[in-house]
């Protein structure tokens, strides 16, 4: 892939920030394969990034216009943060334009639009009740475009790197699920590949923070873990490349940050219903074949039966030979 990337011109990436905490960017800064330096110097051309660029003010605006014009139809648009719709979008104005207008215009020329983080994917924390700013995800604003969503709070940076680099080198996008999330990262729930799953299966639960079960790393389901309903890859792809650097690994129940129905909506410590997936065939059936019939035994039984019948036949023939030479039945007096 590195070779393929080095061959052609580095693909252009334009990164827009809206209602966000910059956590997703911060997350990106902490990658190491590739590290940020290698990423922006060797692999991509990060043409506009408000956190990382040196420019400000009119210079910055000009840089954006230039980048869009020069790379029209070819750049990857990454959007971080939700976009407010309330009050004609006036809760977010950058350089005199509302966020809605800004993103609409830039997205027109993008080759692919990626929404990074839950905020850009579906609204995130700004969209929590009562959602005073009318925050929505990017897809709601760009209704006609197919936006690839990488929810998470923050999203795992390697998901972005995977998607972006795949597009940059092979020109393809990964397979998406019904909500537009890459299947390779969001195809399974946390519960399905949780390292504490064995405890769940064995019925070992932490019942209170700090109790014996919690200390021993038991399943956090009864403490309100939303893992069973949350599609994400945190359990196999931890953060900051530190093992167990993710909520469950640290003993905190997952709160479903990727899911619009759960994060910032369902109470943190409330247990959720677990969906009943189609069971695999490895369960014992209601009836199972048991017990076998030994062919040797049937043979022996047949032999014994045959012997008895043979002996009986012999006796019968002897009886026949022993014809009664007698006798009239006695006449009863």
């Amino acid at each position: 892939m590195a070779a393929a990337v080095k061959k052609g011109p580095r693909p252009s990436v334009i990164w827009l920030h809206y209602q966000e905490c910059t956590g997703c960017t911060e997350s990106l800064l902490r990658t190491s394969h590739p590290g940020l330096a290698e990423l922006i110097l060797d692999l991509i051309s990060l043409d506009y990034h408000e956190t990382l660029m040196a420019a400000a003010g009119h210079q910055a605006e000009a840089a954006l216009q230039n980048a869009v014009k020069q790379n029209a139809g070819k750049f990857i648009l990454v959007v971080e943060g939700s976009i407010p719709l309330a009050n004609h979008g006036n809760y977010m104005r950058i350089g005199g334009r509302t966020g809605v207008d800004a993103v609409t215009e830039v997205a027109k020329s993008a080759a692919v639009t990626i929404a990074i983080g839950s905020c850009a994917s579906w609204g995130g924390i700004p969209s929590a009740d009562p959602n005073p700013t009318g925050a929505v995800g990017v897809q709601e604003v760009l209704k006609g475009t197919k936006v690839i969503k990488l929810p998470g709070c923050p999203a795992n940076p390697y998901i972005l790197l995977g998607v972006a680099l795949q597009f940059a080198t092979m020109g393809k996008l990964p397979e998406l699920d019904a909500e537009g999330r890459p299947l390779f990262a969001y195809g399974r729930t946390i519960h399905e590949h949780c390292p504490r799953r064995a405890h769940f299966d064995a019925g070992r639960f932490a019942l209170q923070f700090g109790d014996d079960g919690h200390r021993q790393g038991y399943c956090l389901y009864k403490l309100g873990c939303k893992g069973p309903a949350t599609h994400a890859s945190c359990s196999v792809n931890q953060f900051c490349e530190v093992p167990d650097a993710w909520p469950i690994g640290l003993g905190a129940p997952c709160f479903g940050c990727t899911e619009q129905k759960l994060a910032f909506r369902a109470p943190m410590y409330q247990t959720i219903d677990i969906a009943r997936p189609q069971p695999p065939a490895s369960y014992p059936g209601i009836t199972a074949e048991r017990g076998s019939i030994s062919p040797l035994a049937t043979g022996l039984a047949g032999l014994a039966g045959g012997a008895i019948l043979g002996a009986s036949a012999k006796v019968a023939s002897m009886l026949k030979k022993q014809k009664p030479a007698d006798d009239e039945p006695e006449v009863k007096p």
């Binding site: 199972a288 048991r290 026949k320």
Partner: protein, 409 residues
């Protein structure tokens, strides 16, 4: 000259013959395997499993073979209740077959039981569960074997010890015992009639426990009645078969008219049995199932044909009075009866969870071993004691020989 069985007489000849050695070997194998079972657990010697927890030992050696051994019961009923005194000379043979099959069956039962050291609790009334059918069966059978049958089989033993070549003390004790037996016989016989009625019918009630797991062609509240009547039939039939075989092999005359009168009774009682059986099936609406030609229907038809056709054939006097014809006919009837007794316990028993059962090789060998043990007992006893029926002429001849032998000594 009419052959007329009036008395009992030992069979002449040595006990240890080739056939005797053959069955001894079979019995030895069975006993050795039984001892092994006590040290190795049931799984090591049987194919029993959680679905078919009762197999050859309980269902065949006990349920089926004790029906064959109901000759003592049936003949006692005929002789001492129906006042058919002419069967007296057959009583001892019948009683011998009874005690042998029952004893072999009880030993098989104790091998089959998983925790035999608790058998002592059968003597503790505080833990009895009198509602349990198996309790009733075990209790009655034990009482029958240990009290009634022993008592009834005493006579030939005592007569043997009363013979003139025995030491005087032995003769005195035997004489005293014989007087006791004479006086107490009605009490013993009454017990030997009441007990088998109870446990032979209870062997049927046992399968009531199976509930819907016994196929409806067999499962009925009339199981106890059908079982006890079939025991009666099979008991007489088996005694006839044993007599015919024994007399042929050891070249003794056969009183074919006495046997014919027994076959007549067998035939009529079987007819009554068939009426109860089919009446019950009709009442429960199961006649259709009998002809569906699925596996169970075929077993039912086989068993019915094996019971009904011989019974019908025995209606013909010529068939009854010719041992060459009666022997195979009664044999098939007996096999049909055995099938009837065995089927509800195993073949028509469906635990419903995918289990299969067929006895394993050690299991078969143990079962055969116990049957062989009974045969050994029979071969020994009929040659040492006056069991098999004989004509007056034979008895007089034998007694004369004995006196001559005594005089020569």
């Amino acid at each position: 000259m009419r052959v007329h069985w009036r008395r009992m007489l030992e069979v002449a000849g040595p006990v240890v013959t080739r056939p005797f050695l053959f069955v001894s070997a079979l019995a030895a194998v069975g006993i050795l395997l039984s001892v092994f079972r006590e040290f190795a657990g049931l799984h090591a010697v049987t194919a029993l499993n959680d679905g078919y927890s009762w197999g050859l030992f309980k269902n065949f050696n006990v349920t089926t073979l004790t029906a064959l051994g109901s000759g003592g019961y049936a003949l006692a009923l005929l002789t001492y209740v129906c006042n058919q005194g002419k069967y007296h000379s057959l009583m001892r043979t019948a009683l011998l077959t009874s005690i042998l099959t029952y004893t072999a069956g009880m030993i098989a039962l104790s091998v089959d039981i998983g925790r035999p050291w608790n058998l002592f609790f059968m003597a503790d009334p505080w833990v009895w569960n009198p509602h349990s059918i198996l309790w009733e069966v075990a209790f009655c059978m034990t009482a029958y074997v240990m009290i009634a049958l022993d008592f009834e089989n005493l006579a030939p033993l005592l007569e043997h010890f009363e013979a003139e070549n025995m030491p005087p003390l032995v003769r005195d004790v035997a004489g005293y015992a014989k007087r006791f037996v004479k006086a107490a016989y009605p009490y013993g016989v009454a017990l030997a009639l009441a007990l088998p009625t109870m446990h032979q019918s209870s062997l049927g009630s046992l399968m009531l426990l199976g509930g819907t797991r016994v196929h409806p062609l067999w499962q009925t509240h009339l199981l106890p009645l059908l079982y006890v009547v079939m025991a009666f039939v099979m008991g007489i039939a088996f005694v006839e078969l044993v007599l015919m075989a024994s007399c042929t092999v050891w070249r003794r005359p056969i009183d074919r008219f006495m046997l014919a009168s027994l076959s007549n009774i067998v035939s009529w009682v079987t007819a009554a049995w068939l009426m109860i059986r089919f009446g019950d099936l009709a009442y429960r609406g199961q006649l259709g199932a009998a002809f569906q030609l699925d596996f169970y229907s075929l077993v039912f038809l086989a068993e019915t044909v094996m019971i009904a056709v011989p019974a019908l054939m025995l209606r013909a006097r010529g068939w009854r009075e010719d041992p060459a014809k009666a022997f195979p006919t009664l044999g098939i009837l007996t096999l049909g009866g055995m099938l009837y007794r065995y089927t509800p316990t195993t073949i028509a028993f469906r635990p419903g969870t995918g289990y299969h059962y067929f006895p394993s090789v050690p299991e078969l060998l143990i079962s055969i071993g116990f049957i062989a043990l009974a045969v050994m007992g029979y071969l020994f006893t009929v040659k040492r004691f006056a069991i098999l029926p004989a004509t007056l002429e034979m008895s007089v001849l034998a007694s004369t020989k004995q006196i001559k032998k005594g005089q020569a000594a």
